[in-house]
Symmetry: C2
Subunit: 198 residues, 2 copies
């Protein structure tokens, strides 16, 4: 077998993700992805059947990376409130502050309008994130003071909706998407999750 086989599909997906985040799906050609991975178009097509396939692969790469980062970060952390705030902070950093990811996810939404598989992939990821937040938020309260399950769910849904809104605002008012504002945003989101606590 040739030189660089086993990592190549993953490498292509990773580079595709990076390029898509820079220039959007339509702004990236197969040749670009191949070139950045040190190969040419011909060999690209021996790993992926079409452009759509690499887009899907890039999505999977993003979903996997996100989850890995979350779980790595949470690994040695036990205080429930801190765990919650950590994940909120990560979400803000990933979805709002980081321009590349913002571009990528915005493009996914536009693509979801036309492509069912992209849509279901994102939905699955989104469900995971939502369940994660529900678990983290529930853990903050002692069992006897814990709000009803549907209240928790509603708070999480609202918070996730607000993140999308903030992400959008960041697109138009870039000054809110900087490190300095991060704390303000996180505080606002925490307040949505726990409206009656400090």
């Amino acid at each position: 077998m040739p030189r660089s086989a086993p990592q190549m599909p993953a490498l292509l997906a990773e580079n595709a993700f990076a390029l898509f985040g820079e220039r959007g799906f339509d702004g990236v050609k197969i040749d670009d992805i191949a070139a950045r991975s040190g190969v040419t178009k011909g060999s690209f097509y021996s790993h992926y059947r079409s452009k759509r396939a690499i887009v899907l692969a890039a999505c999977q790469h993003y979903y996997r990376t996100y989850q890995q980062n979350v779980h790595r970060e949470l690994a040695g952390m036990s205080d429930p409130l801190l765990r919650l705030r950590t994940v909120v902070t990560m979400s803000v950093r990933t979805c709002v502050i980081d321009r590349s990811t913002r571009v990528f996810t915005t493009e996914i939404f536009a693509l979801s309008l036309k492509d069912e598989q992209v849509r279901t992939g994102w939905l699955q990821f989104y469900d995971c994130v939502r369940e994660l937040y529900i678990g983290l938020l529930a853990a903050v309260y002692p069992p006897d003071k814990r709000p009803a399950a549907d209240e928790i769910r509603a708070a999480v849904d609202l918070m996730l909706a607000a993140i999308e809104g903030v992400k959008l605002r960041a697109l138009y008012e870039p000054h809110i998407a900087c490190e300095a504002e991060q704390r303000t945003i996180v505080d606002g989101l925490m307040k949505i999750l726990m409206p009656y606590d400090p």
Copy 2:
């Protein structure tokens, strides 16, 4: 001068808006827009210089139509709370329930990533809407019980952010984007605007 001159640019913009809402910017060819307007590509280009130009024109058409609808609806209405709720309801109907507008605005966001003029156009529109909401919300309170200006602004910002989130969710869970759910959504948004009132 020929037959149907003066309305043609507006007609083209209107049809472009409709088509973009059905199939997205890339899914619509100049020929489609021209055909739907009863002309051919040749004459299209005597009104608009490029595809980008018609996209901009379609955006302007959307912004103008939205504002006209709002002001027409509010015209004979004086109760402040009802005025606020009316506009929220219109926003939900326009942005969330109506699939075509949802597609159109989602595409605008993706395009805004690449095109400065599209971005500034949207920003201007968004500012108008925000100021409109701030005025409507302030009017609900009697002057002596009115919250601080920045509290009102924060509530409006959060509500608008939540609309974006709901719009996004509607893309993935279409069942929430139906007439039946409209009331629930509006109630939720009103609660964000006025958290401590019935």
